[in-house]
């Protein structure tokens, strides 16, 4: 966890550096989306991964993850607040809609300091509202999440809605904050062991148009 502030610092530096080499700010006349079919974007994101709770679909039982499940006062949480980052590529199909792919990795720690590592691959559709100089994207991603924990690996079904806000710096660069909610459906061979993970991602994002 000590590395996370350092990671954020690096990301911010990248964003600032990129902005310094970018074009000059756009004019106020460019309030409507200036992008069209064939335009593409690349996004780099890094932030905090917050494990919220697990749902047992067989019983409906809910287990919060940020507190100890029966371990008593002072016991560590079932999962720690973690971190992660991902890269996105997308292409505009209309001036407001873009389709693309996300790939990244997120991690958290268990009570025994074992790493829970997730590598999600998500196909994502985004509708972008433009309120110049801001853009509010609404996205829905569907894909798979490769989860590894203490030598065990599962491939889960992941549904990940996302929203946030970008500040449009110029025609090439936008910077913002994204919130993404994870519905991670882990189907076990024993149905009673199936769980739906509910997680929250909060990340800084730099979006580049090309």
């Amino acid at each position: 966890m000590k590395r996370f502030p350092r990671l954020c610092f690096v990301v911010v530096c990248l964003i600032v550096s990129a902005a310094a080499f970018a074009d000059s700010p756009v004019t106020a006349q460019q309030q409507a989306s200036q992008y069209a079919l064939g335009d593409q974007t690349m996004t780099i994101n890094a932030g905090t991964f917050v494990p919220l709770f697990l749902v047992n679909p067989s019983t409906g039982g809910v287990v919060p993850l940020l507190v100890s499940n029966g371990g008593g006062v002072g016991s560590p949480a079932q999962l720690s607040v973690g971190g992660g980052g991902w890269l996105s590529w997308a292409a505009y199909v209309t001036p407001q809609i873009r389709l693309g792919l996300d790939v990244g990795t997120d991690f958290a720690l268990s009570p025994n300091a074992n790493w829970l590592v997730m590598v999600p691959f998500v196909a994502k559709a985004t509708y972008a509202f433009n309120f110049y100089p801001f853009e509010v994207p609404l996205s829905l991603g569907v894909g798979m999440n490769i989860v590894n924990y203490v030598g065990n690996t599962t491939v889960d079904v992941l549904v990940r809605p996302e929203t946030g806000m970008y500040w449009i710096y110029n025609s090439s660069w936008s910077f913002g904050l994204l919130l993404d909610y994870w519905f991670d459906m882990q189907f076990a061979t024993t149905p009673a062991n199936s769980r739906i993970g509910n997680f929250l991602g909060v990340s800084l994002s730099a979006l580049y148009h090309f």
């Binding site: 064939g38 697990l54 047992n56 287990v63 993850l65 100890s68 499940n69 029966g70 371990g71 016991s75 560590p76 079932q78 999962l79 590529w89 292409a91 792919l101 268990s110 009570p111 025994n112 829970l116 691959f121 196909a123 894909g143 798979m144 490769i146 989860v147 924990y149 065990n152 690996t153 599962t154 491939v155 882990q186 189907f187 076990a188 061979t189 024993t190 009673a192 062991n193 199936s194 769980r195 993970g197």
Partner: protein
């Protein structure tokens, strides 16, 4: 452009196909994490002071060292898996909180410094470092634990001695003996009682052993007589050039029953030399087969009697460096038959010694394993469990080894510094 997009989708699909073919191992990662509890690490500290060790049943060890630890011997791997024995469902709740000034203290907890197995229960004696004489029931005192297959649990405070600081527990013969300390003022030294019980519920004080200025430090039973020994710092005074002992805090008691314990008229002599530490008794041990009595002492080695205490022989060892007498804290023996009976004596700062075998031991030989820390430790407790020997030390945890096939602790035998089953040192 379209081709590039198509390639990316194809790549994505290919990667997904490969990854989806992974074995999911039952797919229950989240179900595992959901119930995961933090495992205790280093379950038996290697730098603790061991106050007591109990074997019950064979291969299962309980160690009192402030907290209580439980170890289970794996005879195949020759390791002991240790866990803190935190009794659930205890009354009061464990860990036991002392009361000081009318306020329940969260820490430090009452500390367990004695253990015994008696009448199908484990018994734990506790004391607190923050004793408040003005408040009753500030120390949990004696606790009876339910003995289960997995732990000593479900502790219940024995209210009879609710405010006593328990300094010793011994199950000997048909009785459970307990030495307690009480104080009426924080400015005054405590006084000590020796109590006994045949069932753990009803307690009686040994006549003549109440309000003693010194504690009972050892108990034994030879099949006929009960033995008790007290330890204190005797006061010597030079009057008209004659060095005279004005107090007698080191006393041996003997009796056919706990109620008839009386001062032994012929105790082993205690050496006193001006400018040197006083001698005193540290414990008592009786070989249940030969009825030989051993009294480890501070300056006179191990006193041995083969005639029920009528006469004594001081088995000594050369002073360390020619000047420092070796103090012995405890004695035990191989109660498994083997070819020989081996008597082991724990010293104060020089590891363990072996007494020569036979019914009339005559020599003390220091351990041959010189390369392990135990060689320079104070061995306060020795437990023999079949072929396993456990030694509890002051400040250096528990050490364990086994007898060789000839029944002897062989030179260079492997010792385990117990810390959860890992062997950390050999000698």
């Amino acid at each position: 452009m379209k081709a590039r997009i198509a390639y990316l989708f194809i790549l994505f699909a290919a990667a997904g196909t490969i990854l989806l073919s992974c074995e999911a191992n039952g797919g229950s990662i989240y179900a595992t994490i959901e119930t995961e509890q933090k495992a205790t690490t280093n379950t038996l500290p290697t730098l603790m002071t061991v106050a007591d060790i109990v074997v019950q049943p064979s291969g299962t060890y309980y160690v009192a060292a402030g907290g209580i630890f439980r170890g289970v011997l794996d005879t195949v791997k020759n390791t002991v898996a240790w866990t803190p024995n935190n009794p659930t469902g205890s009354t009061p709740a464990y860990p036991f909180n002392p009361i000081y000034g009318g306020v329940t203290k969260v820490a430090p907890y009452d500390l367990c410094n004695s253990l015994a197995y008696f009448n199908t229960h484990f018994w734990g004696g506790f004391y607190t470092g923050s004793d408040d004489p003005a408040t009753s029931s500030n120390n949990v005192g004696l606790v009876r634990f339910d003995a289960t297959a997995t732990a000593a649990t479900g502790g219940t405070q024995v209210s009879t001695v609710s405010d006593g600081q328990v300094t010793m527990l011994r199950a000997e013969g048909s009785y459970l003996f307990m030495s307690t300390a009480t104080s009426t003022s924080s400015l005054l030294a405590p006084t000590y009682d020796l109590e006994y019980s045949s069932d753990g519920a009803t307690w009686a004080t040994v006549p003549g052993m109440t309000s003693l200025p010194y504690p009972v430090v050892g108990m034994a039973y030879d099949g006929t007589n009960y033995w008790a020994v007290t330890r204190g710092i005797d006061v010597w005074q030079v009057t008209n050039g004659v060095d005279t002992k004005t107090t007698n805090y080191n006393v041996i008691y003997k009796g056919a029953s706990p109620g008839s314990l009386s001062v032994l008229a012929t105790p082993p002599a205690l050496t006193h030399t001006a400018g040197q530490p006083n001698d005193g008794y540290n414990d008592i041990f009786v070989d249940p087969t030969t009825h030989t009595v051993f009294v480890p002492s501070i300056r006179d080695g191990v006193n041995v009697s083969t005639d029920a205490g009528a006469t004594w022989t001081a088995v000594t060892t050369p002073a360390i460096g020619g000047t420092t007498p070796v103090s012995f804290l405890t004695v035990s023996a191989t109660l498994n038959p083997g070819t020989n009976t081996i008597y082991l004596a724990g010293s104060d700062g020089y590891g363990y010694y072996t007494l020569s075998t036979g019914t009339n031991p005559a020599t003390l030989t220091r351990q041959s394993s010189t390369t392990i820390l135990l060689y320079g430790e104070s061995v306060s407790k020795i437990i023999v469990d079949g072929s396993n020997v456990l030694m509890g030390t002051n400040l250096n945890g528990v050490w364990r080894t086994q007898f060789g096939t000839d029944g002897n602790l062989q030179s260079g035998a492997s010792w385990t510094h117990e810390s959860g089953g890992a062997t950390t040192s050999t000698g």
